[in-house]
Every structure is written in C-alpha cells, then in structure tokens.
C-alpha cells in the first residue's frame, strides 16, 4: 500500500490506475443504463460511460503518444457533443414529462401497437 501511495505522489501513476477508474465508471454507467427506469438516471449513466471513455482517451494519449494531442482533442469533442446531447435529451424529457407527468421509460409505450 505504501508503494502505491509513493508512486502516486511521486507523479508516476501507472496507466492501469487510470484504466481502473474508467472501467469502474464505465460499468457503473452500464449498470445504471440497464437497470434504471428513470430517464434522467439513464442519461446520467450514459454520461458516465462517455466520461469513462474520455478518461481512456486522455490516459492513452498521455502514456502512449506524449508528443501528440489527438486524444485530448477527441475528449474535448466528446464533452461538447455530450453537452449538446444532454441538452436535447433533457428537452425531450421535459416535454415527455409535460405530456405524461412521468419520466419512467416503462410508461412510454404509446407508440407501440
């Protein structure tokens, strides 16, 4: 434990650590996406997965190709797109809420036969 802490604070964090975090975040997102019925929670889960991907992008860029910046750019794009997506999604969710007074996905079966 002490070793790990030492390396952490000495600025030599291994890439596995970043991957570990992103893995946990991603599966937390997957789990949330699959199990949650509230649309907002689903949205948050999606964001979690996206952010996990962002962490991977930056970590790999930093460790594998330190001379380049594509990974960071990609992460920035993702954040921007995620923001747009969230905006649209929340707009839809609000509209749904106005119509149905509910944001549970189980209740959204009017379009089904």
């Amino acid at each position: 434990m002490g070793d790990l802490m030492t390396t952490f604070f000495s600025g030599q964090v291994p890439v596995e650590a970043y991957l570990g975090v992103s893995l946990i975040m991603f599966f937390a997102g997957v789990y949330g996406f699959l199990t949650r019925r509230n649309m907002l929670m689903i949205l948050i889960s999606i964001e979690l997965m996206l952010n996990a991907a962002d962490i991977n992008f930056t970590a790999f860029n930093r460790y594998l190709f330190p001379a380049q910046l594509e990974g960071f750019y990609f992460a920035l794009f993702t954040i921007a797109i995620a923001a747009c997506e969230t905006a649209v999604a929340i707009a839809i969710i609000i509209n749904i809420y106005r119509n149905l007074t509910s944001v549970e996905v189980g209740n959204l079966d009017q379009m089904k036969e």
Partner: protein, 633 residues
C-alpha cells in the same frame, strides 16, 4: 331423300321460335303453329316411309341410306361425332311412330291444355322433344344417339316438371332425370369402351358384321368377362334406364305427374322405347359377340314384365296402372329381342319386338289419351273417383275398350298379332320362358280390364259436375289411334322390318295364338266378374293375401330402397362428410397455416419491444459471449 333433313329441322326451328316468343303470341297461335309444323313433319315422314319401303329394296334387301351426314366434332382421326340421318327399316318405322303419336298429342293438347299457364312453353317443349326423339331414331352413330338420348332426357325433365309450382311434379322430374342420367353414365362408359377398341362410333361399321372391327377386343377381359360384354352390358344399362327396366324403373310411375298428353307421347309411346330401339340398333353385336348379355336382357325383360304387371294389378291411380303396364310391355319387347337371333325365321323375336313397339306405341298412346280425356272430365286420377262413365263419354269408352282389347291380345286387334309373335319367339327359346310370358300376358289382360271396368262401369261416383265428353280436338286423335289399333295388326311387318333387312313372311303360330287368346279371355272374364259390378271378391282377396297386396301396392319397396341409398347413404354418409371434411380438415389446414403464422409472429413480436435497455442488455450479453469466444476458443 334429302328432304328428310326437314323432318329434323322443322321441329327444332319450331322450338326456337316458340321458345323465343314465349308468351308474346296468343296461346292459340302458338298451338296452331306447333301443330301445323308437326303435320308437315308427319306428312314428310309418311312420304319418306312410302318411298323407302317401295323403292329402296336392292336384291331383296332394304338398303341403309344416309342422305345426310356431317362431321360435328372431331376427337381423333378416327373418332368423330357426326350428325346425320340414317334410314333403314327400323328407323323409318320409328319415324312413323314418333311423328304420328307426336302429331296426335299436338292436336289433343290443343283441347287438353287449353287455358293452362305456359301453353306456348308447352308446345315449345313438345317440339324440342319431337326433334330430339327424331334425331335419336335417325342417328347414324352411337354418339349422335347419345346426344339425342340426353336431349330427350331433358325434354322429358322439362315436360314432367311442366307444372313447376307443384312440388310432386318437380320431385318427379328430378327423379326421372337423375335415374336416367345414372343409367346414361353406363351408356357413356359403354360407348367409351366400345369406341376405344373398335375405333369407331359408326353404326354402319359396328353392325355390318365385319369381324375385323372387333379385333381389338380379342383377349381383353375384366373380372373374367370379356370387355366387349362389359361394354354391351353397360350400353344396355343406358337403355334399361330410359326404358324403365328393373331396377331402374322407379322414375316412370312418378313421371305421370306431367300433363297426360306428355305421358302418352314420352312415357308410353316413344322415349321409353328408346332402350329397345338401342338394343335393336346394336343387335348384330349382341347376337354375334355377346349372346350372354343378350340372354341377360331377356331375363331382365321377363322379370320386369312380370314384376310390373303384378304391381299394376293393385294400383289405384289410373295413370300409374298405365305406367306399370308400359313397363311391363317394354319388358315384352326386351324379351323378344333377348330371345332372338339374326336372320330370317331365326330373327322372329327381333321383328316381333319392333312390331310390338309399333302397335304398343299406338294403343298405349290411345290409352293415355283416353285416360287424359277421363281425367279432363272428372279432375282426378283416382279410380274410386270414377265409375260408370260410359254413359257420359261414349267415344272415350269405345276407343279405350279397343285399346284394352288390343293390349290384352284379343284378335283382330293389333296387340294380338305382335304379342303373339313375341310369345312364339319366347316358346322357341324355351318353353318355360314362353309360359312365363303367357302368364304375364294374362295378368296384363286382367289389370287392363280391371282398369276399364273401374273407369267406365261399376258404381257411379258422385261428381260435382256431370262428366262430359271431350271436345272434338281431343276426340279426333282418339278415333284415329283407335282405327290404327284396329288395323295395324294386318301390316305384314316381317316383310318390312327384320333383323337382317331381308323381308320374310311370318306365319301365325296357331297353338301359341290359341293358348294366349284363351288365357286372355279367361283373365278378362275374371276381371269382368270382379269389377264390372260391385263385388266383394277383390277386397276379400286383398285381405287374404294382405302381405303381397301391401307389398305390391307400395311397389315392392323399391323406391324406399333407393331413397335409403341416396338419402341415407350417399347424401348423409358421403356428401355430408365430404363437405365437412373440406370445411374443417382441408380448409382447417389452410387456416391452420395462417393462424400458426399469426401465432408465431405474435411471439416474435415481443423481441422487438422498443425497450432500449432491453436491447442494450442483449447487446451486452452478446458482446460478452463474443469476447469469451475470442478469448477462450
């Protein structure tokens, strides 16, 4: 003799014209036109007969003439239906019979059917029938005969069902058509078999005695009987259906639902003898190749004759008595053909059969027209509604008596001569046969006089209107036919019609003649005792032999057997299950396919739920499976 074509064409034209104008003309006009056309046809027929018998004998043999023969429908290179006219002694003789009786019926109907609804239709149908019957007798080939055979069947259907609002008439018409149609199936299959092996439909080729025509049949047999015998037997079934031989006779008594003149024309004189004519037409084949079938015909004829005579004794509807008498008499003709051989004296039966056909047509038509006259007067068919009519209807009485004497076989009336020839032929064949036929002849005399006395003598029944003699148009045909009945016996028939077309002279066999006359006289005396005055004997006998009496009155339950077979067996146990099977099994299978598809799609539909989370779950599982596969396999 090209003009014989007119004999066929005129009635057809008449049918078309009368059928098309329907009720646009006055009934009287339609009737008169119909009768006039028939008069021309009859005149042409008589002239043709005169010309044929006088001028067409070559080397002592009557020629076979074919003044007209055109191809109507070609099947194969050798099989084609021709429509044409064949003149030989029997067809010319039939020409006379058909046109005479038809003319008489046309005239008679002017009075009998007066004021009936559908008078024009009646005359149109009569013309159709006359055309078909003439086409049948003049047929040059077996298929032409079949064509007209069907046409007479349908004319008979239309005329029996003339009173189409009466359910019994409709049922009778249907029965007549279906029973004869069933028999015609036999005829058709017979034709198919015959033509398959002989490669021809032509009577000329079939009956010329040329053995090479039948070479195809050599060695072909089915169930141990040669196929030619099968074919000829099947053809005879067709004839038996039309000629009401047992067990296909059931339609004829019911056919009496038609107007009485129709019964006289179709169900007494002409159409019902078509079967006899058919056998006579193909007689050389029967005689040369299938004598077994020919003997079978004799047995069927004899049985039918006796059977029908027994039933006729107890019937109370006068038209039914006559109907059974007709069946019985046709049985006589069949017997005569069955016991005959080809050529000269050997062919006595053949000649006798044709002779009896001729005389029977005349006196039976007379009997029916007389009965019609009676029915016209008392408005009933039942014997016990009649009695004592001789005072009111002298002409009908006398003519009816003449016909009864003729059918009973009393000389010098025509029936005596023809029946005597038949009995002679039957005795030559086998004494038992002769005896049986003589007994039947005795029965005939008995029931005919029972009929006669019940109508014209006996106890007078109270009538609402006093019965009156029929008008002149109805009396005239009676008188004419009575005259023919009196004198026709003296025609030297053997000189005109014989099995090999060589004239021969037939002598009266005095032994047979005297036996039959004695039997007939005895029967008549018996009938006189029983029925001339009111007598207790008939009812006593009826109670004594109540079983037989009841069975005979219900016509030996043959109708019930038929009803059982058709209704219970075929309709309920074949047709109904098939209809059910079709709706439920076959169609059920088809619908089953449809509902299986529907069920399947319902089940699969659940997969595409629209639930993204569910998709993602499946997606994730799929990814994991693939990952596992990539990693571990």
């Amino acid at each position: 003799m090209q003009y014989t074509l007119l004999i066929l064409a005129l009635p057809l034209l008449n049918f078309i014209v009368l059928g098309l104008v329907d009720s646009k003309w006055k009934p009287k006009v339609a009737g008169t036109i119909g009768t006039l056309v028939l008069t021309i046809v009859a005149a042409l027929s008589y002239y043709a007969t005169y010309e044929y018998f006088s001028f067409h004998k070559v080397n002592g043999v009557f020629e076979k003439l074919m003044p007209f023969n055109m191809e109507w429908l070609r099947f194969t290179d050798y099989l084609h239906i021709n429509l044409g006219i064949l003149l030989d002694p029997i067809s010319v003789m039939m020409l006379v019979v058909v046109s005479t009786v038809s003319l008489m019926v046309h005239i008679y109907s002017l009075g009998y059917m007066k004021g009936e609804r559908g008078f024009e239709r009646y005359y149109a149908f009569l013309s159709l029938f006359t055309f078909s019957m003439l086409g049948l007798v003049l047929a040059t080939n077996i298929f032409q005969m079949y064509i007209f055979w069907e046409l007479v069947g349908v004319s008979s259907y239309l005329l029996i069902g003339f009173y189409y609002t009466k359910p019994s008439a409709v049922a009778a018409a249907k029965k007549a058509f279906i029973v004869t149609r069933f028999a015609d199936l036999g005829f058709l299959i017979g034709i198919l078999l015959l033509s398959y092996f002989t490669k021809t439909f032509d009577f000329e080729a079939l009956t010329s005695g040329n053995a090479s025509v039948f070479a195809g049949f050599t060695g072909v047999s089915f169930m141990g009987i040669s196929v030619l015998s099968w074919a000829m037997a099947l053809i005879f079934i067709g004839g038996a259906g039309k000629s009401a031989m047992f067990p296909l006779h059931i339609w004829l008594p019911d056919a009496m639902e038609g107007p009485t003149p129709v019964s006289a024309l179709i169900h007494a004189a002409t159409m019902v003898v078509a079967g006899v004519y058919l056998v006579a037409r193909l007689f050389p084949i029967y005689d040369l190749y299938t004598p077994g079938v020919l003997h079978g015909i004799a047995y069927v004829g004899a049985f039918t004759s006796l059977f029908a005579a027994i039933i006729a004794v107890v019937q109370t509807d006068i038209k039914r008595v006559l109907a059974f008498s007709t069946i019985s008499q046709i049985g006589f003709m069949m017997v005569a053909l069955g016991v005959s051989k080809m050529g000269g004296e050997q062919g006595l039966g053949y000649m006798a059969s044709m002779f009896h056909l001729f005389t029977h047509a005349m006196f039976k038509a007379l009997l029916f027209l007389g009965a019609g006259s009676v029915i016209h007067a008392v408005h009933s068919n039942e014997m016990n509604h009649m009695g004592g009519l001789r005072k009111y209807m002298p002409i009908t009485n006398i003519t009816f008596l003449i016909a009864c004497l003729a059918i009973a076989g009393i000389p010098p009336f025509s029936g005596f001569f023809s029946k005597d020839e038949i009995l002679t032929a039957a005795f030559q064949f086998s004494p038992y046969f002769g005896a049986l036929m003589t007994f039947t002849a005795g029965l005939t005399a008995f029931y005919m006089f029972r009929l006669y006395y019940s109508i014209f003598w006996g106890k007078e029944h109270k009538h609402q209107h006093t019965p009156h003699e029929s008008p002149l148009v109805m009396a005239l045909p009676l008188v004419f036919l009575a005259l023919v009945t009196v004198f026709a016996g003296f025609i030297p028939f053997g000189e005109l019609v014989s099995s090999d077309r060589v004239p021969f002279h037939s002598e009266l066999d005095l032994t047979v003649a005297s036996i039959s006359v004695i039997v007939a006289l005895f029967s008549i005396t018996l009938a006189t005792i029983f029925y001339r005055k009111e007598s207790k004997i008939p009812s006593l006998l009826a109670t004594k032999f109540s079983g037989l009496h009841k069975a005979a009155s219900s016509r030996f339950y043959v109708d019930e057997v038929y009803l059982f077979i058709t209704k219970k067996v075929i309709f309920n146990n074949v047709s109904r299950p098939i209809a059910w099977f079709d709706r439920h099994i076959i169609d059920g299978t088809m619908n089953g396919f449809a509902s299986t598809t529907q069920w399947g799609s319902l089940k699969i539909k659940g997969v595409q739920s629209g639930q993204v989370q569910q998709y993602a779950y499946v997606f994730l599982l799929g990814t994991l499976v693939i990952a596992a596969l990539v990693l571990f396999v």
